[in-house]
């Protein structure tokens, strides 16, 4: 992700913090010191509130570390047994109530301070009410892909979430309802917000209001089975006009296809049991909606780029791209595969 003016401080802050964790070694990786998923490079209000809190917590814990570490180092050096030791036992000290009181009360005060700062951020993130202009998205976790629905806008898509950017004058947040179709998952775009789990029978919600356009990455953060690792998240934050145009396009049913040979294969094999192509007979819901497949940059929840070769490879045998994914290899002949891929490529 590129640096932008307002963010430079956050990057700087995060750099310093990473240094706290690992001092010199932080510089050992000049190739990519920053990461597109760095939690210390927040770009949306919830992530920023968390970042503010984490700076405070890091400062407090860092100070405690320095004090106690110094004491430890000092006592190990100062009170080591010397070469010329006289062999007598040191003075036997059993304890001291004053000292004990001091190192009970001070930590209690520190804990109270940490707690109050934390409670404030919990409230500010969890208790924010949904403003009227907010976009509403329903995210449904599946083994091992994401379904997105925009109720009210009539859009269904998969794996690549599009949301409008907020600017300083007008915030246009997106509120996401989180459901699971099978096992637990967790929605985590580190630069936009903390993670929230998707749990069957336990609807959750979260919100983001990204302030910069761009692509934000993340991935499923709750173990959900074989391909948990390749259940990647991509959020496209777009200027309002681009977002509206995207919505318009996504609302359209599939354009009537010229590649009817491929469409026939699609509709006479099991594909339609699992996939929807709006405007055709295909209305399966087990797999991603393919109505606008070609409008997506990636396939299989970010596991591969959306290129004709990858598509062909995927349909021929999904296991070669994502072993253990729940789409079966359909044993198609080369000819059918070619026709099918051509058909899919018309789904723009």
């Amino acid at each position: 992700m590129q640096l932008r003016g307002s963010n430079q401080w956050h990057f700087l802050g995060s750099q310093i913090l990473v240094c706290v964790c690992c001092t010199a070694a932080a510089f050992a990786d000049p190739a990519s010191p920053f990461s597109p998923t760095n939690i210390f490079a927040p770009a949306s209000t919830p992530a920023k509130s968390i970042f503010g809190l984490s700076l405070f917590v890091l400062a407090v814990t860092g100070a405690i570390f320095l004090v106690v570490f110094t004491l430890l180092l000092y006592s190990v050096v100062k009170f080591r047994k010397r070469k010329n030791d006289d062999g007598r036992e040191p003075p036997q000290v059993y304890g001291s109530n004053q000292v004990e009181l001091a190192w009970t009360v001070i930590p209690v005060l520190i804990v109270v301070a940490l707690f109050m700062a934390t409670a404030r951020v919990i409230a500010s993130v969890q208790k924010t009410a949904r403003p009227d202009n907010a976009i509403e998205v329903v995210a449904i976790g599946h083994q091992f892909w994401w379904e997105y629905r925009y109720p009210g806008l009539g859009v269904v898509t998969a794996n690549e979430l599009h949301v409008p950017v907020s600017d300083d004058n007008q915030s246009s947040p997106t509120f996401i309802k989180l459901f699971s179709a099978d096992t637990d998952h967790s929605f985590w775009i580190p630069r936009l917000a903390g993670k929230t789990d998707l749990i069957p029978n336990h609807p959750n919600s979260m919100w983001i209001d990204p302030h910069e356009a761009g692509i934000y990455l993340g991935q499923c953060a709750q173990y959900c089975g074989t391909q948990h690792a390749k259940m990647l998240l991509r959020v496209y934050v777009q200027p309002r006009a681009d977002f509206d145009r995207w919505i318009q396009e996504q609302r359209q049913p599939a354009t009537v296809s010229a590649a009817s040979q491929g469409q026939r294969i699609f509709e006479t094999t099991a594909c339609i049991n699992c996939h929807t192509v709006a405007g055709t007979v295909a209305n399966g819901r087990f797999g991603p909606d393919l109505t606008h497949l070609m409008s997506r940059d990636t396939i299989a929840a970010g596991a591969a780029k959306n290129t004709p070769e990858n598509l062909r490879q995927w349909i021929l045998n999904p296991d070669t791209i994502k072993p253990g994914s729940l789409m079966p290899a359909m044993q198609l002949s080369g000819q059918d595969l070619e026709a099918l891929t051509t058909y899919l490529e018309t789904l723009r």
């Binding site: 304890g95 919990i122 929230t196």
Partner: protein, 557 residues
């Protein structure tokens, strides 16, 4: 029965056949032999769990590596976690508790020797059962396979729908069975500490070791029971048509989390309190001072015991519990840092003004202090719920708990091995090899676990068999994996030292460290039934009183 006539049956005696010796060990009810069985059993599993960890780290050494398949990787981390918690750390700590508590409180055995043997064999059976899944659990692929649901086995991944075959059942039953063993041993420890102390040893005069293990045992009884209940409910779900956790029939995935963590969090204190116990014995002896603030240490231990029952849902901050519940678990979690901090300060104060001798056990304890400090502080970070929304379930959490479990518990445990080896075997270990082990392990540990925090901060979730390049995770993962090889070398040196010293080491006398607790007054190794005459004590350091009749402790306590 005359106690003098019962000598330690030495394996080297040659008068017994192998079968007779084996029979003696299998049927033994002696607390020392059971202790050693626990310890050896745990060491075997340590090697197995360690190999699993190494394979996991080799797979993650670079992005898109394909050293193992995703299916195998998921089994590896499940088996690694389950093995390390239930079949390495718990048994080894029970082993030391079994061996040492009766000796320290001047008793001839545990309160219930036969329950003791029963518990050991239940635990042992649990571990073997878990690994039998590798050949026995018929799964989706027709062949046997190990469980792959993760060590906390969140529902509904464990339901029949998502976990075909029997691998999950092996996991469930293994924990169920070994859980009975744990509860048996816990009851035994409580009874022994409360009822078997020698004359003069009031509760306020028993070694901190006994106190810490007493609280640990109490926690085991409280914590393992809900786990056992949950495992039975899971079995009911899987085979009797129950719907406790079956979300497709209206069950609750969240209830499983509560059941698991109300076990899981106290469990981490079950593991760490015995580590505190080792540190509380070793640090004073090598600083040549009594433990600082004994009553406060006891109070802090009991406080930790209570508070640790009320913090479980800090493992569930991302579950969507609502602001009020999150806030409650923040304050309870942070509260536990206070007694924990008090303990660190008291250990420091014990060293303060002493004459610190850097023998291997002490080196491990000093490293423990340093590492446990950091682990506690990263714990506080995770306890700040919003920070946890970012860090939770990432490699940062993995680094945090390995800092506690390896940097804290394993380090004191190694210290304990070296410290009590002369007592248990009658031989001295090699100090040179001990120090080599220490330095290899310190280097390896810090390479692995310091750098593991960073990919977590950079957004790397845990439990992924591979990752994308270009996220800034590559270098850190490489360093982390390199550290593993240093740790493995350290473990080899450690095992080599134990074996070599057992056969070739110098003879140890009864009290090689000039220590103060009762076990050092017994023979090395102690005979069956430990003491010919039950000792009488007047203070917390009976051997100090003996060695310094002019300046005994009981005048000051």
């Amino acid at each position: 029965m005359s106690t003098e006539s019962i000598a330690w049956p030495s394996t080297a005696a040659g008068s017994r056949s192998f079968v007779e010796t084996l029979h003696e060990w299998v049927t033994t009810v002696d607390h020392k032999r059971l202790g050693i069985l626990y310890i050896i059993y745990a060491l075997v599993f340590l090697v197995i769990g360690g190999i699993e960890a190494t394979v996991i780290r080799i797979q993650l050494i670079r992005p898109h590596n394909d050293f193992v398949s995703p299916q195998v990787f998921n089994r590896l981390f499940t088996m690694h976690g389950t093995t390390m918690i239930f079949f390495v750390v718990m048994p080894v700590l029970f082993g030391f508790a079994n061996y040492l508590i009766p000796l320290m409180i001047g008793a001839r055995d545990m309160a219930f020797p036969r329950l003791n043997a029963f518990s050991f064999w239940m635990t042992a059976f649990g571990g073997l059962f878990l690994y039998f899944s590798v050949v026995g659990a018929n799964g989706l692929y027709g062949a046997g396979n190990a469980p792959d649901v993760g060590w906390f086995a969140y529902a509904p991944l464990t339901s029949q729908t998502f976990s075909l075959g029997h691998s999950t059942d092996f996991w469930t039953l293994a924990l169920l069975v070994s859980g009975f063993g744990s509860i048996g041993t816990a009851i035994n420890i409580v009874a022994t500490v409360l009822c078997m102390r020698c004359p003069g040893m009031t509760l306020a005069k028993m070694p901190l070791f006994a106190w810490l293990n007493l609280v640990m045992a109490g926690l085991v009884i409280l914590a393992v029971s809900p786990l056992t209940a949950a495992q039975i409910m899971l079995l009911v779900d899987r085979y009797l048509g129950g719907h406790f956790f079956d979300t497709q029939a209206g069950g609750s995935a969240v209830i499983w989390m509560h059941f698991f963590w109300i076990f899981g969090h106290p469990e981490v204190y079950v593991l760490v309190l015995p580590a505190f116990a080792f540190a509380s014995e070793i640090i004073p002896v090598f600083s040549r001072k009594p433990i600082f603030g004994y009553p406060v240490m006891v109070g802090a231990t009991v406080a930790i015991g209570f508070i640790s029952m009320s913090v479980w849902a800090h493992h569930m901050f991302t579950v969507g519990m609502g602001a009020a519940a999150n806030t409650f678990f923040v304050i309870s979690t942070m509260a536990i840092a206070v007694p924990t901090g008090i303990k660190i300060f008291n250990w420091l104060a014990t060293m303060w003004g002493g004459k610190i001798e850097f023998k291997t056990p002490m080196l491990f304890c000093i490293a423990f202090l340093f590492q446990f400090l950091i682990a506690g502080l990263t714990g506080v970070m995770l306890g700040a719920a919003p920070f946890d929304w970012q860090l939770g379930n990432s490699y940062f959490v993995v680094a945090h708990f390995h800092y506690v479990i390896v940097g804290g518990i394993m380090f004191t445990l190694f210290g304990a091995f070296y410290y009590w080896f002369p007592k248990m075997s009658g031989k001295m270990y090699s100090e040179t090899l001990g120090k080599l082990h220490f330095w290899l392990f310190v280097i390896g540990f810090h390479l692995t676990f310091d750098f593991m925090h960073i990919p977590g901060i950079l957004g790397m979730p845990r439990r992924i068999y591979t990752y994308e390049p270009g996220r800034g995770w590559d270098t850190w993962n490489l360093i982390v994996t390199i550290g593993v090889f240093f740790q493995a070398a350290g473990i080899l040196v450690f095992l080599g030292n134990l074996i070599w010293s057992y056969f070739r080491g110098e003879l140890a006398d009864n009290d090689p460290w000039d220590a103060w607790t009762l076990e050092w007054s017994a023979h090395s190794p102690p005979p069956a039934y430990n003491f010919a005459l039950i000792p009488t004590v007047k203070s917390r350091r009976p051997l100090w009183d003996l060695k310094h009749p002019d300046d005994p402790d009981w005048k000051y306590e």
